[in-house]
């Protein structure tokens, strides 16, 4: 109840009117920053105005009748009730208008479908509930998680400017390059959507679907998952950071270097303290949505880890659950998603947090062995 009262205090309309003053009262589709998004926008506006004009004509006649042909004003009903000519006219005219709309729509659609001759490929995989980006042939791949804290979501903290639209690691893309997205999913259907790019592509498990874009301006573009994908469908945003080519190259090199270091971490001799420290962070971004930051879970779907039989049982069993998931439940197999280091860190952290006090650990090498077993 405490948090509820606080929620009202924090979330009363006043604070975020100021926080979002610039973005408030946004009424219309964004024209976006690509050629395609701009032609989509102009299509949208053209059709909108055509509808407005038709509406004015039709409702105009209707309201004319409503005001002037009232019985209370002494209107006597006419008796006409048929006219083939009129029927033909109002069948043919809308048909012609539709053809007029279909032509530009076809052009834009054909353009959207032409993903050929791309400069680079990015494989996008939807997970419950995060995105994975793989820069094909570049040895760079990472997950992109929601960065908004649970405290903000549950009204224990003030909401930031980009509430729910911020991630720990955005998709970095160069401008003026034709980028092909290869969209797929690892579990249920998701949909990768960035309004400013006018790219929305469903992520279908087991199938790869294409989309493409050429971003004209540098900037940060935010979107969200657009297909219901379970509990945290509303909490898996997409953030694209478009940068000039040189900056992109620098970022890519740094990222590749980081990947190399990360790879070497696997062979390092870890102490329990190091693992717990790393595990706390990894747990927060990968596990806390379901099992909660305090390990209490959300039973019955998401069991508590504090005092859990698995966590307090043999360490191999515990690690295997994390690696392979539990079929028939919401517990995913993290072996394919996280590095051995992260899994070792998370398992070690779980065993030593929230009063579990097991005092033992598992090394990345042991995790690798379990994985290959």
């Amino acid at each position: 109840m405490m948090s509820r009262r606080r929620a009202i205090a924090v979330a009363s309309p006043v604070p975020f009117v100021s926080a979002s003053a610039s973005a408030a009262w946004e009424l219309n589709m964004t024209p976006g920053v690509t050629e395609v998004s701009q032609s989509v926008y102009s299509l949208h506006m053209t059709i909108f105005w055509i509808c407005v004009i038709i509406g004015i004509v039709v409702f105009g006649v209707m309201f004319w009748s409503i005001f002037n042909h009232r019985k209370s004003k002494g209107a006597k009903p006419a008796q006409f009730h048929e006219s083939t000519t009129v029927e033909i006219i109002w069948t043919v005219i809308p048909f012609l208008i539709l053809i007029g709309m279909a032509i530009p729509a076809t052009g834009t659609l054909v353009k959207m479908y032409d993903a050929s001759e791309a400069d680079m490929d990015i494989k996008i995989t939807g997970y419950q509930w995060k995105w994975r980006y793989e820069y094909l042939n570049q040895d760079v791949n990472f997950f992109s998680n929601l960065a908004t804290s649970q405290d903000q979501i549950y009204n224990r903290d003030d909401k930031g400017e980009h509430y729910l639209l911020e991630v720990d690691e955005p998709l970095v893309l160069p401008i003026n390059q034709k980028i092909r997205f290869l969209v797929t999913s690892a579990d249920v259907i998701h949909s990768w959507w960035v309004p400013s790019l006018a790219v929305k592509r469903d992520a279908i498990p087991g199938y790869v679907r294409e989309a493409w874009t050429v971003i004209k301006e540098p900037g940060i573009y935010r979107g969200q998952c657009a297909e219901l994908c379970g509990k945290d469908h509303g909490f898996m945003p997409v953030v694209v950071k478009a940068v000039p080519q040189e900056e992109y190259q620098e970022w890519l090199l740094a990222k590749q270097e980081l990947a190399r270091q990360e790879y070497e971490l696997k062979n390092k001799q870890w102490t329990m303290e190091e693992l717990v420290a790393r595990g706390e962070k990894s747990y927060a971004s990968n596990c806390a949505v379901c099992h909660q930051a305090n390990g209490a879970g959300l039973p019955p779907t998401f069991p508590a880890l504090a005092g859990s039989g698995i966590v307090k049982g043999p360490v191999e069993k515990h690690a295997e659950v994390v690696l392979h998931g539990v079929s028939g439940t919401a517990m995913q197999a993290f072996g394919a998603q996280l590095s051995e280091v992260d899994i070792a860190a998370i398992v070690t952290y779980e065993r030593n947090a929230w009063g579990n006090k097991m005092g033992d650990m598992i090394t990345p090498q042991q995790v690798a062995e379990l994985k290959n077993k």
Binding site: Y113, T184, G206, Y207, V208
Partner: protein
């Protein structure tokens, strides 16, 4: 529509609500079994299901018995007869649409999904996911053979399925003979042809069961052997259920005929059963061509 004066409107009837309770128990029983199948206790579900089925059987006897009695009492006129005819035709049409959903699924996976998975078609890069997968039909190697080991082979259409086709087509002819006999009031022939139709249906079912056993034990062609097994068993399975139902209906009609329920002029019950039987035959012909041969 001069006959409208005496359109029969039955008074209160307890059967609809009994039917509802039966249906509810049957289906919620099944659901309860399925919910508890891994680890839970399924006995409650099975009890509900069994009681539901018993209620349904009781209802069918009672309701159809009621209708038969009213029909025998001459309460139904030509207009009522037309209502029954419309009812039965549209029921069969709804069955056609049910099968269409599964035939549609077959076409989709065969001509679109499997080629896409194998990397064909514009805008798909599925080789990223299934690099070793090659599309073919019948699909013997699934995209992920570890999860779905494919069948070793599929049923040869020119053996039992061909024989089954002949059986069912023959049964369509025999039931037509029965219909002609009914119109001529040739009672012995009606019984003979009807019994023969039922027998042909039963033999067909026997062969289907044999084929299923062979598929499961010899060919590893099963419900869970990937999309070929899925479409094969779902289509032939639902057809088999319809043949079973049709054969039961025909048996009831035969018994009713022996009790003197149908005359040369009034025998809609028989005709409805015959329509249903023909429908089941047509579905089989489609199955034989689209599932077995192609």
């Amino acid at each position: 529509m001069a006959t409208q004066q005496s359109y029969y409107v039955p008074e209160q009837s307890k059967w609809p609500i009994i039917a509802t309770v039966g249906l509810f128990l049957t289906l919620s029983g099944l659901a309860t079994v399925m919910v508890n199948k891994s680890g839970g206790d399924t006995s409650t579900g099975w009890w509900m299901f069994s009681i539901g089925v018993a209620v349904m059987v009781y209802m069918l006897f009672g309701w159809f018995g009621n209708v038969a009695k009213e029909s025998m009492a001459g309460l139904y006129n030509a207009q009522m007869d037309r209502s029954f005819r419309w009812g039965m035709s549209w029921f069969i049409f709804s069955e056609v649409m049910f099968f269409s959903a599964f035939f549609g699924a077959l076409f989709y996976v065969r001509f679109l999904a499997v080629p896409w998975l194998a990397g064909e078609g514009e805008g798909t890069m599925n080789t990223l996911l299934w690099s070793n997968f090659e599309g073919s039909w019948p699909l013997l190697h699934n995209p992920d053979p570890k999860v779905f080991p494919g069948p070793e082979a599929v049923i040869n259409p020119w053996s039992i399925p061909l024989l089954n086709t002949v059986l069912l087509l023959t049964s369509s002819v025999t039931i037509t003979f029965a219909h002609h006999a009914i119109k001529k009031n040739d009672r012995d022939k009606v019984k003979l042809w009807l019994a023969l139709t039922i027998l042909l249906g039963a033999v067909f079912l026997g062969f289907q069961v044999y084929e299923y056993i062979e598929a499961y034990h010899e060919l590893n062609l099963t419900l869970d052997s990937g999309i070929y097994g899925t479409t094969f068993f779902m289509l032939t399975g639902f057809h088999g259920m319809h043949v079973t139902l049709g054969a039961i209906i025909l048996t009831v009609i035969l018994l009713r005929y022996m009790k003197g329920h149908f005359s040369a002029e009034h025998h809609f019950g028989f005709e409805a059963a015959a329509w249903y039987w023909h429908f089941v035959d047509v579905v089989w012909v489609c199955l034989f061509v689209l599932v077995y041969i192609m």
